[in-house]
Symmetry: C2
Subunit: 209 residues, 2 copies
């Protein structure tokens, strides 16, 4: 099976496995049974086996998974063993939150440029880059070897920002604006909707009462 | 089938359908074919039919879905036709971003109280509530009839905040801290990891090159 044929949801679950493995590793745990690991990530052991089988043979019968081995393998599958260079467009509250969020750097993503017409000239956060004007996006994407763009602007401006990113050569976009972007097929887009979690909770509240 | 037996992923997809229906409705579109709708949400028409079948009969053969009807039905399934009252703990960058995020209120969630030991006394954002000290959580959860808690504190403090929320009577938690919370079974938790989207993009970058 060609890597590109692997279902997106499998890649998504690999991210979840990675998060759990990192926390096991931080706790000094070297091996984990497939049952314990399944409980930890909320996925049935058989599904975990199936997900990992796309990439090779993992886990030892009667022992489980070796934490460090599986962790390194998943990092290599996801391609985060080297840092990806990221541009952020929108340095409002959400943009500043993303700049302050330590989880990105820890997992191999470095925000090396930030853009905002209002805040340009200032520093983006304590250790962040200086904020540039969006018109400098094409130049900085080239100079800074940026591969990924994060959109943290309001819905109304998101499509224009995405178009500018694509024109500047970015083909991977993480979109926080609550809008469906229309982009060429070669561009990968991940949408994060901060309210979806709340709707799931609302449903749980309803079925309890 | 009892409502509580409905897979979580179905509820998650209902949120996505709702988002698409809202945007169709905003564009003045009254009906949508199951094929077009499938493309819009990135889910196969057969899967959409299967998801909706948990809740009744939707869609008209040869016509598709009536946008407004389906929208109202999903809102009623998710239980967001009345506003849920939400408490936010952590008014740092992420907390302020969540306060400024218009998507919550639009979808039936109102942040009526905010807590932070550092920022207490100040207003949380332009139109936000005054920030209270976390010790006032139990009292305000009762007084303000709060049902949902959002955790926007660093990983190290998240478990303690979650424990305090549960002691105060909150049974639904949206957790942004990159840590797995250990909580009683009756408590529903949704975890949002801002970096999972980036990992999916990293994988896409890798398989392209």
């Amino acid at each position: 099976m060609k890597p590109s044929k692997i279902p997106r949801v499998v890649i998504y679950r690999l991210s979840i496995y990675l998060r759990a493995l990192n926390s096991l590793s931080a706790d000094g745990i070297h091996t984990v049974s497939s049952e314990s690991f399944g409980k930890l990530v909320g996925v049935k052991p058989a599904q975990i086996r199936k997900d990992l089988a796309y990439f090779g043979q993992f886990g030892i019968k009667g022992v489980g998974y070796k934490v460090q081995d599986l962790l390194e393998k998943i990092i290599s599958i996801l391609g985060t063993e080297r840092a990806h260079r990221v541009a952020l467009v929108g340095v409002g509250n959400l943009g500043r939150a993303l700049l302050a969020y330590k989880g990105f750097e820890k997992r191999g993503f470095q925000i090396v440029a930030a853009f905002d017409p209002v805040h340009c000239g200032k520093k983006a956060g304590k250790n962040g880059p200086a904020v540039s004007h969006p018109r400098d996006l094409p130049r900085l994407v080239g100079e800074q070897k940026i591969e990924i763009g994060i959109i943290a602007v309001p819905a109304a401006g998101a499509q224009e920002v995405a178009d500018d990113m694509v024109k500047a050569g970015i083909e991977s976009i993480l979109n926080f604006a609550p809008v469906r972007l229309v982009l060429p097929e070669k561009v990968s887009v991940e949408n994060i909707d901060l309210s979806i979690g709340l709707e799931t909770l609302s449903y749980a509240l309803k079925t309890e009462s």
